[in-house]
C-alpha cells in the first residue's frame, strides 16, 4: 500500500481512501464467497442430481429430490417433530426466562450472586450439558426412583419413545432459558421507575401494573426471544445427537439429524441437500421476521 500524504490534495486522499476501504472488505468477502456462497451453490446444484456422494457419475434429475422429500413420510415425521418441539421450547423458554427475570428483578439482597449463577448454563457447551444429563437420566434418577420405591423412574426416560422428547426438552430448558433471561432483565430495567410509582399512587394493583406497564415494555424482547428460539428449535441438532441420536425408534429424529444421517450414513447425498433447502425456506421466513422485529425494537429503544 502506497502512502498518500494528506497535504497532497483531497483528490489523492480520496483515491487512497477508496482503495483502502476496498481492501478492508476484501479478506472477509473472499472467505465468504469461496467458503460460504460457493458451498451453498454447489449444494443447490447437487440437489438437482441423483449423486450419492461417492460415485464418479451422476445424472440431472430436476426437482425429483424435492418431490421425494415432500412426499417422504420420514421427513414429514421429522418436520412434525421439529414443529412440536419448537412450540414447546418457545413457550417453555419464554415463560421460565420471564419468571426468573421477574423474580431476580424484585429482590435486592444477593441479587448479583443469583444473577451470576442463573446465567452459568449459557456459557457451557450444549454437548457437555447434554452428556451430563444423559448420565443423570441413566444413573442418578433411577437410583433416586429406587430409593423412593417408584418403578417408572427405573430406566432412563431417554430410552422411552414417548418420554425421550421430554428429557431433551428438560435439558434444553435448563440451559436455554439463561440467555433470554438476561434479555428480559435488561427489558425490565428499562422501565422508568417513576412510571411504576405513579401507577402505584393512582391505586393500580400489582397485576394491573404488570399488564399495563411491564408487559408493553417487554413486548419487543418477547418478540426477539420467540423468534430466536423458533430458529433454534427448527435447526436443533446438538442435544439430540448426543442424548438420543434420533431414537428410540426414530421418535426424536429432528430434521437436522435426518439430513446428517442421510448424508453421512445412508448415502442419500443429493436427497439430504434437498431436505436442507426445504428447511432453509422455513428458517428464512422466521429469520426475516427476526430482522424485522429487531429493527422495530431498536426503534422502540
Amino acid at each position: 500500500m502506497k502512502r498518500t500524504k494528506g497535504f497532497s490534495g483531497s483528490h489523492g486522499g480520496n483515491k487512497e481512501r477508496k482503495r483502502t476501504m476496498f481492501l478492508f472488505t476484501l479478506p472477509m468477502m473472499v472467505l465468504y464467497i469461496v467458503f460460504f456462497l460457493v458451498t451453498m451453490f454447489i449444494g443447490l446444484f447437487y440437489s438437482f442430481t441423483d449423486w450419492n456422494g461417492i460415485s464418479k457419475s451422476y445424472n440431472m434429475v430436476g426437482i425429483k429430490n424435492y418431490l421425494a422429500v415432500l412426499s417422504d413420510s420420514r421427513f414429514r415425521k421429522a418436520l412434525l417433530f421439529n414443529i412440536k418441539y419448537t412450540v414447546a421450547i418457545v413457550i417453555g423458554v419464554t415463560l421460565v426466562a420471564l419468571i426468573c427475570a421477574l423474580a431476580l428483578n424484585s429482590v435486592k439482597r444477593f441479587s448479583t450472586f443469583f444473577r451470576s449463577v442463573y446465567f452459568v448454563p449459557a456459557v457451557l457447551s450444549m454437548i457437555t450439558v447434554g452428556l451430563i444429563w444423559n448420565e443423570l437420566f441413566l444413573r442418578a434418577i433411577p437410583q433416586f426412583g429406587a430409593s423412593i420405591g417408584n418403578k417408572s423412574l427405573s430406566s432412563s426416560i431417554l430410552a422411552n419413545p414417548k418420554l425421550a422428547v421430554v428429557g431433551i426438552l428438560i435439558v434444553n430448558l435448563w440451559q436455554g432459558r439463561a440467555q433470554p433471561m438476561v434479555l428480559f432483565l435488561a427489558g425490565l430495567q428499562s422501565i422508568p421507575k417513576d412510571l411504576q410509582e405513579a401507577a402505584t399512587m393512582d391505586g393500580a394493583g400489582r397485576w394491573a401494573r404488570f399488564c399495563h406497564i411491564t408487559m408493553p415494555y417487554l413486548l419487543p424482547t418477547i418478540n426477539i426471544v420467540v423468534i430466536t428460539q423458533t430458529k433454534a428449535g427448527l435447526t436443533i441438532f446438538d442435544y439430540i445427537k448426543v442424548m438420543t441420536n434420533g431414537g428410540p425408534a426414530q421418535a426424536t429424529e429432528a430434521v437436522g439429524l435426518l439430513i446428517y444421517r442421510h448424508a453421512v450414513a445412508e448415502g442419500k447425498f443429493s436427497r439430504s441437500i434437498a431436505e436442507s433447502m426445504v428447511l432453509f425456506v422455513i428458517v428464512a421466513i422466521v429469520a426475516a421476521l427476526s430482522l424485522k422485529a429487531s429493527g422495530k425494537s431498536q426503534v422502540g429503544e
Binding site: M21, M28, T128, I132, A140, W174, S294
Partner: protein, 280 residues
Amino acid sequence: MNKSKSNIAIKAVCYIFLFVGLLVILYPLFLTVITAFKTPTQSAENFFSLPTGFYLGNFKGVFERGNAASSFANSIKVTVTSVLLIIIIIPMCGYAIARNMEQSKYYSIIYYTLLIGIFVPFQVIMVPLVMYLGRMNLCSITGLIIMHVTLASSQGVYLMVNYVKSVPRDLEEAAYIDGCTTFTGYLKVVLPLIKPMLATILVLNVLWIWNDFQMPLLLLNQSPEMFTLPLFQYNFTGQYSNDYNLAFASFLLSMVPVLVVYACAQKHIISGLTQGAVKS
C-alpha cells in the same frame, strides 16, 4: 400496612423460587464434580454420596486413555486463531461498509450479500461442505478455523455496521485532515471508538467456537488427533460408557476453563451475549 405485608410475602416467594432454581441449576454441576472425584465402586454404591477423598484417578484416566491433552490444545488453537482473525477482519469490513454504503453500490451489495448468511441454517451448507473442503484437503484444523471465521461474518458484520453508523465521523475526518492515511486513521481513531462492539463480537465468538460441536463433528470425526474438546467428550463418553466416572472427569475438565473465564469477565460476557441476541 397491608401493602407492605403483601410486599414482604411476594419477596419471600421470590426468594424461595430463586433458591429452588439455584438448586436446579447447581445440583447437576455439583453431581458432576463429586462423581469426577469418586472411584467407580463408590459411585456404584451411591451416586449421590460425597467422595471420601480427593481421588484423582479419573482425571489421570482421561489423560491416559483419550487424547484429552491434544484435544484441549486443539480447542485452544482453533478458538484463539479463529477469534483473532475474526476481530481483525470483521471490524475492517464492517467499518468500510458502514462508511461507504450510502455512496457506493459495491458496499451495499456486499452488505446485503453478507446478511444472507443470517437466513441460512447451518444444515444447508453442512452436506456439500464436507465434500468441498475434502477436495481442497481442508478437513483439518485449518479448515475448521476458516469455516468459523467465514460463518462468523454475517452476524459480526451486521453488528459492526450498525455500531459504526452510530459513531460520528468527525474524529476520523479530523485525523485525515491531519494527514493520517485511512489505515492509520482506522487503527488510531476508529478502533478505540468501536471497542465495546469488538468486545461483544469477541465474547459471542469465543463461546460459540469453544463450544461448537457440529462443525468439528463433520470435518474432524475421522481423525482423533485433530479432535476439539466437545468432539473428544462425545467420542470419549461413547467409548468408555461403562466407566462413567471417567466421563464426568472429562466433563469437568472441559467446563473449568469456560467457568474461569466467566468468573473473570462476567460483565462483558453477559452484555456481549445480550447484544448479540438482540441484534441477530
